[in-house]
Symmetry: C2
DNA sequence: CTCGTTCTCTACCATTCGGTAAGGGCGTCG
DNA sequence: CGACGCCCTTACCGAATGGTAGAGAACGAG
C-alpha cells in the first residue's frame, strides 16, 4: 500500500524539524530547506501540499516521537520517584540526541491554534497521567504536598529551557555536551527530589 | 542635544520588543510593525537605519532594562537565601509585567553572534556575580554543595520557560495570570530552597 | 518672512516568498 | 511495446519583503 519507494519525504520531515526548531518556522523558507536537501522547492511542495501542510506533518511527527519516548520510559519504570527519574532521564536523552524535538515545542506558541491544538491533544493524556500520578503520590505521602500541575510545568520548563537556550548557556560559560548534560540532569533531578521527596535521601 | 521632540522612536522600540518576543524577529515584518503603530514602514526606517539596526537597539534596550531590574533587586537584599528569593521575585514580577523582556532572550539563539554577543556581554557581570555568590554560600555552608553554574541555568530555564511557553502551560490546564504566577513563583522558590538550603525550614 | 532641521509621507525598486502549471525520466504492469 | 503512475524538474506568477529617493508638513531660530 504505502510503499515508500523513496525516502525523500522522510528526509524533508527530518530536515524541516531541525530547521523549524533552530531558526523558527517563519525563519525557514522552502527554498532554504530544499537547498539543504539537494532538491528543489517544488519537490518539497510535491510531497506536502503547502508549507502549512509541511508544518502540520512535522509537528504531529515530532509529537508522536516525543510521546513514544516518554511513554516507553514511563512503562519501563515503577510508579513513584523511580518513574520520575526514568522519565527525566529519557527527556535528557532526547535533549542530547534529538534536541529539535524539544525545540519544536517552543515554536508552538508562535503557530496558531490550528497547529498547536493537535499536538497538545496528542500530549494531553501524558500530561494527565503525570498529574494523576503526582497527585496519587502526594495523597499517600510518598511525595510532598504541592500543586502537581505547577510542579510539572516547572520541571518541563527547566528541562526544555536548558536544552533550547543554547546562547544563554554560553553566557554562563557552559556548552551543552554529553558530560554537561549528565551533570545538568543530576542538578534537575536533585531539584526535583529535594522538592518532592519528604526525607530526600541521597541514592 | 538629543531632543526627543517625538516619542515615536520609543514607541517603535516598545512595540518591536513585544512583536519580536511574540512572533519572532523573522516573523515580524516592518510593515506589520508600522501598521500596529499607525505609521508607515518608512517612518520606522527613518529612526533605525535598517531592520537589523532596529533589532540591535531592541535587544540592547531590553537587556538594559532586564539588568536594571535584577540589579536593583539584588541591591535591595542581603546576601544568602534572602537575595535569591528577592531576585526570583523580581524575575517573576517581570514575567507578569513585561513578559516580552524574557521572551526576547529566547530569540537570541536565532540571531547571529553579532546580535547575541552584545546582550550577553551586558548580562555577563550579573551572571558572574550570581555564580560567585552561590559559590561563596556553598563554601561557608549556607548552601548545599553543587555546581553553581548549573543551578543558575536550571533556575533561569525554569523561570523563563514558565513565562514564555504559553501554549504548553495551556496544555496542562493552566493560564498565566497573577494568581497562577504567584503560585508558580512559590513552586520554583520551593524547588530552589529545597535544593540549596541544607535544613530547608519553611519561612 | 525665511531658512534649516526634524519628522513623516508617497512612490518606487530589487529580491524573495509561497504556490501553480506543465513536462520529462523511469520503473511497472497490461 | 505502450500506457500509466510516481517523482522530480524547469519555468513562471502575484504578493510581500527590506530598502531607497525625494517631497512636504511642522516648527523654532535668525
Amino acid at each position: 500500500m504505502t510503499g515508500p519507494t523513496t525516502d525523500t519525504r522522510a528526509r524533508v520531515i527530518a530536515a524541516a524539524t531541525v530547521a523549524f526548531a533552530d531558526r523558527g518556522v517563519a525563519g525557514t523558507s522552502l527554498d532554504d530547506l530544499a537547498r539543504t536537501l539537494g532538491v528543489t522547492k517544488q519537490t518539497v511542495l510535491y510531497h506536502f501540499r503547502s508549507k502549512d501542510g509541511l508544518v502540520a506533518e512535522v509537528l504531529t511527527s515530532g509529537a508522536q516521537e516525543l510521546e513514544a519516548v516518554l511513554l516507553s520510559a514511563s512503562a519501563q519504570s515503577e510508579p513513584g520517584w523511580d518513574r520520575i527519574e526514568t522519565v527525566v532521564r529519557a527527556a535528557f536523552g532526547l535533549a542530547v540526541a534529538r534536541p529539535e524535538l524539544l525545540g519544536l515545542l517552543r515554536e508552538l506558541s508562535r503557530l496558531g491554534p490550528d497547529h498547536s491544538q493537535p499536538v497538545l491533544a496528542l500530549l494531553q493524556p501524558l500530561v494527565d497521567a503525570a498529574v494523576a500520578e503526582l497527585e496519587a503520590g502526594m495523597v499517600d505521602g510518598r511525595f510532598r504536598r504541592s500543586d502537581p500541575r505547577l510542579v510539572l510545568v516547572s520541571a518541563y520548563a527547566a528541562v526544555t529551557g536548558v536544552v533550547t537556550d543554547g546562547e544563554v548557556l554560553r553566557a554562563v560559560g557552559v556548552t551543552l555536551d554529553l558530560r554537561v548534560a549528565a551533570r545538568l540532569r543530576r542538578t534537575v533531578l536533585d531539584f526535583l527530589r529535594a522538592a518532592l521527596v519528604p526525607s530526600a535521601p541521597a541514592p
